[in-house]
């Protein structure tokens, strides 16, 4: 009879919100998974994998000319893009309370660097300006948001001790900036790391950075060359704290300005005017002589076919892929974090874990997707695996570090019991917070992977650019941005409802 009573008690217990949310997201991803194309279409993926692995362990550093220029350009674009974005973002942060500024920053953030690059390519061609702006514009939106949050958090007590009549600027310089400065530096360094990855990826649209040479090397099956490029890239990212000192930054900027290939040949003001005044105006409106009923009908038809044939299928594929990748990233996070946690592995195991996670999170999703695409042929699978791996490694690293400071009781269990009962329940809240924070990032990347031929919205954008239909491309980019903003709002709602800490600790 006793057990019946207990049972009744259990029935009154509702599943916790965190568990409920998890189950909901996993269920959606599983349903999506049943419908997406994940077939491996390559004839013999294994022999290609073996050739790649052989390439990975036999890096060829002899192609020095290509190697050197690719690395120098990647670093130079990153430094200049991040520096300009940092500078603009700082001033935007000061006026971030203005609604227009906030909305504008959210919008420029919501458009991926590669899409910005595709836009500027049409205006400035393959010049340095294209690359720098493609990084600087979205980054200034990101810097503005993060800097304004940092300034908000600066100690309010010191503010109250300042005499009332002190000028605004003095208050700012004395009471806010000193505290915030340290955080600015930490965050800038982190952004530079992101900038290096973004800069590398810009090569895939033709700029002379790492991605350009990687794409060639992969296409020609020169895996040893590709692995040499990547190894140097990892080393640069891994040693960023050693070479990026505040005092040296002006020198780096100066050197970058000198070495960057400006290629100003097709930079003309008429190009700029043509792009804005002509190219991006929807075609029916552009060719119409007057704004009459026929024009409007044509425009309506143009808009309808764009939305039904391109935007909608693109959006559906993007959302489906994002949700699967998000859950995949979560699952891999929970698999990866013990690899670097002293609660689970000794020094040797953790070293291996660290190397694995550094490599996985330093390789941009785009490059990972390219590799898997070569191995498995075009389907959703390469994109899902690339996004899940990269993001799982990023959050797994943060969670692993989190467990280092965890205080456990002296008689705590070990192994899987420790994992399931002690560690995961303790970090779960933080884990979900980070995962939802990455949600929007994952969606932005999902859209971009369309450029590789996966049918997300980026595929339609890339095709529109290729067909020189800039009006369509721009509208699709705006739709993508709106989709991103929607996910951002949704993510924030869920985080606040679950009372997950929304601020991400950058240190």
């Amino acid at each position: 009879m006793k057990s019946i009573k207990v049972d009744a008690l259990y029935l009154t217990a509702q599943p916790r919100p965190l568990v409920r949310t998890t189950i909901g997201f996993v269920a959606v991803a599983v349903i999506f998974w049943l419908y997406v194309d994940i077939q491996i279409t390559t004839q013999d993926p294994w022999s290609e994998i073996i050739r790649m692995l052989i390439g990975a362990v036999t890096p060829d550093f002899m192609e020095t000319e290509n190697l050197f220029s690719a690395i120098v350009n990647t670093v130079a674009f990153a430094i200049l893009g991040v520096a300009v974005g940092n500078f603009i973002g700082f001033f935007l942060a000061l006026v971030f309370h203005m609604r227009m500024i906030r909305a504008g920053c959210a919008f420029v953030r919501a458009v991926h660097e590669l899409f910005w690059a595709l836009i500027f390519l049409q205006i400035f061609g393959l010049s340095a300006l294209t690359g720098i702006l493609a990084l600087a514009i979205p980054y200034s939106g990101i810097f503005a948001k993060v800097y304004s949050e940092i300034l908000e958090e600066a100690d309010a007590v010191s503010l109250t001790t300042i005499p009332n009549s002190t000028s605004q600027i003095s208050v700012f310089i004395f009471a806010r900036l000193p505290d915030a400065w340290v955080h600015f530096k930490t965050y800038s360094l982190y952004r530079l790391e992101c900038g290096l990855r973004s800069s590398a990826v810009l090569g895939f649209v033709g700029l002379p950075t790492l991605g350009f040479h990687l794409e060639t090397a992969f296409a020609e099956g020169k895996y040893s060359e590709a692995s040499a490029l990547l190894i140097i890239f990892y080393l640069i990212i891994a040693t960023i704290r050693n070479w990026c000192h505040t005092k040296l930054v002006p020198i780096y900027i100066l050197v970058s300005l000198i070495v960057i290939p400006w290629g100003v040949s097709d930079l003309s003001i008429s190009n700029v005017i043509r792009f804005f005044a002509n190219d991006i105006i929807p075609h029916p409106l552009r060719v119409a002589e007057s704004l009459n009923a026929t024009t409007l009908a044509n425009f309506g038809f143009w808009l309808k076919s764009l939305i039904i044939d391109q935007a909608l299928p693109g959006i559906v594929a993007t959302v489906v892929l994002t949700q699967i990748a998000l859950v995949g990233a979560g699952a891999l996070t929970l698999t990866f974090f013990p690899l670097i946690s002293p609660r689970f592995f000794g020094t040797f195991g953790r070293t291996v874990g660290h190397i694995f996670l550094v490599v996985t999170r330093s390789t941009p999703e785009y490059i990972l997707a390219l590799i898997f695409l070569l191995l498995w042929g075009p389907s959703m699978l390469p994109a899902v695996v690339a996004l899940a791996l990269h993001n799982g490694a990023i959050i797994g690293h943060l969670m692993g570090r989190h467990t280092e400071s965890m205080v456990l009781r002296p008689d705590s269990p070990e192994g899987i019991n420790l994992y399931t009962y002690e560690v995961v329940p303790r970090i779960y809240r933080q884990f979900l917070a980070f995962l939802f924070y990455r949600w929007e990032v994952i969606m932005r990347e999902t859209a971009i992977l369309g450029i590789l031929g996966i049918a997300t919205i980026g595929f339609y954008i890339d095709s529109a650019f290729a067909d020189l239909r800039y009006d369509k491309a721009l509208l699709l980019i705006i739709i993508t941005a709106v989709l991103n903003l929607g996910i951002d709002v949704l993510s924030r709602t869920i985080r606040s409802r679950l009372r997950l800490q929304t601020r991400v600790n950058v240190a």
């Binding site: 057990s3 259990y10 329940p425």
Partner: protein, 220 residues
């Protein structure tokens, strides 16, 4: 008195050059019910840690910081006392959906500790006293013959304290508690060890002792 379970000889613990424990010698026999008393900072927790390190780990333990998992329920936290007795698969299944058998096992303990209505509440919804009682529940559920508690009832109200301490005493042969409430300490123990600035200043039977006998330990 039974056989000696733990014994310390001239134990000294230093931290940053400062002695936390100086020259402590004592032995603890099976069946002893011991209260550790002394001002905060006197070395009670350090002494308990020392004794715990002497054990083979088969001790029901309530550390000062409790070691509860905030996102898990009272039931799961208590169940954790017996993780080592079951296979991993069983434990994982029980984490996903509590087993009837384990619920029935845990139930008398939570009823004894006045936590029956909180069985499925996550720890972060509990008061400090309820959290302490959950940690005691985990220790009792473990079922080792030896119990170590570092201020296990400091946040529990007086009425509940008696129930909790009785439950601890009933389910363990040998008990060592660090206590700040001298009245409770004398009531439930048969031997009291007093610490002052890391030095053992008292070690005697509680028989016939009055709370005022402990005053000197608390004088600075």
């Amino acid at each position: 008195m039974g056989q000696t379970l733990f014994s310390l000889k001239n134990a000294t613990v230093q931290y940053n050059g400062r002695a936390i424990l100086s020259d402590i010698s004592l032995s603890i026999e099976e069946g002893a019910k011991i209260a550790l008393v002394g001002q905060s900072g006197a070395g009670k927790s350090t002494l308990l840690t020392q004794l715990y390190e002497l054990s083979n780990g088969d001790v029901s333990l309530v550390p000062q910081e409790l070691g509860l998992v905030r996102n898990l329920s009272v039931f799961h936290n208590i169940y954790m006392g017996r993780l080592h007795r079951h296979g991993t698969l069983y434990n994982v299944l029980n984490l996903i959906k509590p087993m009837q058998k384990e619920l029935a096992n845990v139930k008398p303990i939570v009823e004894n500790l006045g936590l029956a209505d909180k069985l499925f509440a996550p720890i972060h919804e509990l008061s400090g006293g309820q959290q302490q009682r959950t940690a005691v529940g985990r220790a009792i559920f473990r079922g080792s013959p030896v119990f170590f508690g570092d201020e296990p009832v400091s946040a529990v109200d007086e009425h509940q304290s008696h129930a909790v301490l009785s439950a601890i005493m009933e389910s363990h042969q040998t008990v060592i508690l660090s206590m700040h409430d001298v009245e409770l300490a004398l009531h439930y123990s048969d031997r009291v060890i007093g610490l002052k600035n890391g030095i053992k200043v008292m070690d005697q039977s509680t028989r016939g002792m009055k709370t005022s006998d402990l005053d000197e330990i608390y004088q600075s």
